[in-house]
């Protein structure tokens, strides 16, 4: 008897080692995760952000041991809705909807819910109380960057602002910018510009050159999307104004880190949520739903402020090092249940 008890506790101890997953016994259906099928239905996929998001989804799905199927509609709203139906037909238990249009996804999402499938939406509002929304907090992103601008530049400056209306995350960042302008009357917005023409950085650089030569007194450019910031930086460098203009932005990538760390770079700070972490949170939120746990209507992944000084001090040169040296960036303690295995770091 004793030897048997020791044996059982030993087994328990070994089971604890690879993670908490087996220790507490994962709830159904994760007691047999190989049988769990989930689908990721994407609207946007091209670009570093979406690539990183996908890698986060894949890693967390692998850590949980579930079967992931990726549907990519490549910005075709109708096709994305069809893909939800396809996923339903395939018999998946859970669906993550990544971006898309409310109008086209609302009905499709409802059909999935009606079929008994658990659904999570990332950055798209499908107007369904059964579907939690995972969001990177765009308002917080903008707030962190702007607070750093106030800290660096004081409360009185002339600003250029890069914005394209009609894109949900940019619209939310815009709300924060408007609040800041109201809160700090010393901020004067001299020019607003922006374009989504591909390659975005090149097109924005062309615009920013015009804006800077028309308004040479601009001290701060708020460019709340890294492609915008890249474009502005090219223009600032070309105009030889690196010492006179400071750029504050949102989002980050390996290329951005290199640009921020160039000697005398005008790109001072950015606020970012790690898209891979958002991907992981999306999968974990779905897993909680599948396990029958309660999930709030919105799941917010908090952003991190990354300054030029920080990058130089910690000698960070790519996203991996950023994750390693700024732990806040690599893992968000959001939607974590004790039984879940997290991706290996």
């Amino acid at each position: 008897m004793i030897s048997r008890r020791i044996f059982v506790s030993l087994m328990g101890g070994i089971a604890l080692l690879p993670g908490m997953a087996l220790a507490e016994g994962a709830p159904a259906p994760f007691d047999n995760p190989g049988k769990v099928k989930i689908a990721l239905v994407r609207y946007l996929s091209t670009g570093d952000f979406f690539q990183a998001y996908l890698s986060g989804v894949e890693k967390q799905a692998a850590a949980l041991g579930v079967d992931l199927q990726v549907f990519d509609s490549r910005q075709d709203a109708a096709l994305q809705a069809d893909m939800v139906d396809q996923a339903i037909a395939l018999g998946v238990q859970g669906i993550i909807i990544q971006h898309g249009l409310t109008e086209s996804m609302k009905d499709a999402a409802q059909r999935a819910v009606a079929a008994g499938i658990k659904v999570v939406a990332f950055d798209v509002n499908v107007e369904n109380p059964a579907i939690p929304q995972v969001e990177q907090s765009d308002r917080d992103l903008a707030r962190l960057a702007l607070e750093q601008a106030i800290k660096d530049q004081g409360e009185t400056w002339t600003a250029g602002y890069v914005y394209v209306p009609g894109i949900a995350p940019l619209d939310r960042r815009d709300e924060t910018w408007k609040e800041f302008k109201a809160k700090y009357p010393g901020i004067t917005e001299k020019a607003m510009f922006g374009t989504m023409d591909n390659p975005i950085a090149n097109s924005v650089a062309n615009q920013a050159r015009s804006v800077l030569s028309a308004n040479p007194d601009i001290q701060v450019v708020f460019a709340p999307y890294d492609e915008f910031a890249k474009g502005v930086k090219i223009a600032v460098d070309e105009a030889g104004m690196s010492a006179d203009v400071a750029i504050y932005s949102a989002d980050i990538s390996t290329a951005d880190i290199a640009l921020m760390r160039e000697p005398g770079s005008s790109w001072k700070a950015t606020a970012a949520t790690n898209p891979a972490v958002v991907g992981e949170v999306s999968v974990r939120t779905l897993a909680q739903l599948l396990a029958g746990e309660t999930v709030g209507a919105s799941v917010i992944v908090p952003p991190t402020l990354i300054t030029q000084a920080q990058l130089n001090e910690l000698n960070i040169s790519n996203m991996e090092e950023l994750g390693a040296k700024l732990p806040a960036f690599v893992h968000a303690d959001v939607s974590v249940s004790p039984w879940m295995a997290l991706p290996a770091r």
Partner: protein
Amino acid sequence: MKKDFNLTDFAIRYGFLLLMLGLVIGFSVAQPAFLSARSGVFILQSVAITGILALGVTATLVVGGFDLSIGAVATSALMLSAYAMVIWDLGAVEAVLLCLAMGALVGLINGLLIVKMKVPDLLATLGMMFLLMGLQRIPTEGNSISTGMSLPGGGTATGTFSEGFLMLGRYRLDFILEDLVPLSVVFLIVIALLVWGFLELTRHGRVMYAIGSNAKAASLAGINVNGYRVLAYVISGTLASFGGILLAARLGRGDVASGNNLLLDAVAAALIGFAVLGAAKPNAFGTAIGALFVGILLQGLTMLNAPYYTQDFIKGAVLVVALVFTFALSGRNGRGRT
């Protein structure tokens, strides 16, 4: 009656140039910073890349073809140059040669698809466009390329964009003012002169126009029609890849982009070019003026804080007016497309 007729004729010949002059004056009054040497050079810089692509399209338009793949060729060259330098650690010269070779090869394949496989121009180059948009992403699994990036196979990329390469897009020559003229502008002007000289002054150029107006007649006159058509696509592909090289040198990284906007802007410039000096046919001078016209408009509107959608609207309006100039007005005088 005669006077009226002359007025129309005058409008067709010089209307576009006068409109451009009017724009320059208008913008200068509204925003004095518009009329400075730097601003002028900057307009040229902003259209350098699309201008070079547009000159390539012009070559294919001359032989009665059309190259939809130029935007994708340009962004492929952008990715290839970044890949060559950042991941393969090659130097500037090798990277440039590799890209130009890639552009020429794509042009050659386009040309062969069209003349040997008898695929219509639009369809062959459309297929090539999609092919390249996908192909350029395969080696990096869809990621942009920059120094320090993690490689799909593990490890990080250590190569950098060489200084010499970046100079192509960033170096400025002293001309009147210090550091005034970027190299890309010099390239645009040289390439425009070369293409103009080739099309207008050489026998080859005239033969290409002959093919464009009546391929069968040209063929009966003993011209190697297929050879010249392939040549037009090779020119187009090579110029597009050169545009991509300049883009890479300006951005300093391999940016994942479809290049569709480059394609549209370049085609717009080439089509606006039909209307310049009442040419009513594709021509290098008109294409350069067309690109400049779009550049002046965008620079002026941006300086006046006009939002981006009004810029698209006005670009479209200019194109429509230019096409009306070309097809309706010129046609009435019997000087339509020959």
